[in-house]
Amino acid sequence: MTALVQPPPTVQQVYVLAGEVHVATDPTRFSTVLGSCVAVCLYDTSLGVGGINHVQMPDLPPRDVGSPEELTRWAIPGTQRLIDRLVELGSSPSSLRAKLFGGACISASRVPEPMRIGSQNVRSVLSVLHASGIRIGNSSTGGNIGVKVLFDSHSGSVWVKKLIPHTRAPQS
């Protein structure tokens, strides 16, 4: 893991909210904070383009939802939209690389794995990436800790900060 480098002032910095999809042709540092949500960092270093999403829910919406912004809250349309936008910029699935983050289950109780929304989000995202033939690089999903992700669109570099709770020890 490389040390976090502050981007030069010319690099745009964009905070990504839940349900959003962003792509960039100019060097951009994206950041997002994830619990059970999942972010796909997708990039093509040969073109210097990249993008990110932040999906909240697995699979597809139960029925038609209104706006495209609403639709991308779900993992399958949210990931497909990210791929489509980078292809529109001239990339192709075979030259794209993906890194995945998030999908945690931060619960004190023993939640069976299939019921964890984070695990379901990861599975849904992977199904779209695999179907598109996109190769997957170093990723970190699951676990029981929220994370902050920083992603440089032009290089594909990612830094992950674990958000370990700093609460005092419980008292009886």
Partner: protein, 129 residues
Amino acid sequence: MTQQAPLKVLVVDDSPSQREYIKLLLADQGFVLLEAGNGREALQLVRRHHPDVILMDIEMPEMDGFEASSELRTSNLTAGIPIIMVSARSDEQNMENAFLGGCNDYISKPIHKMDMLNKIYSLTGRPLV
């Protein structure tokens, strides 16, 4: 097969209309719904009723969501109760602080019913109905 007790969900928000809206979204789930107008009221209700999950706003008078969550995490009796932060302030620093303060997940306003239900059921280990 034994029937599970209905989930007790505590809704904490200083806006009565927002509490009503959340209760409306959850009305068809068979939950026992409790409500509090700030963090201090929430702490009292948690100690009395021990809810299964808490939906916690961030900005509130008297005691905000961060402070209330931090208090809940300091007692063995309440440290394990899942807290879902619900806030319009889904900016970077607030979300970081929510996780660092011990919350389990967050929902950004405007609230999407399916997102809220997915997180409630996932964190409590109950199947989505």
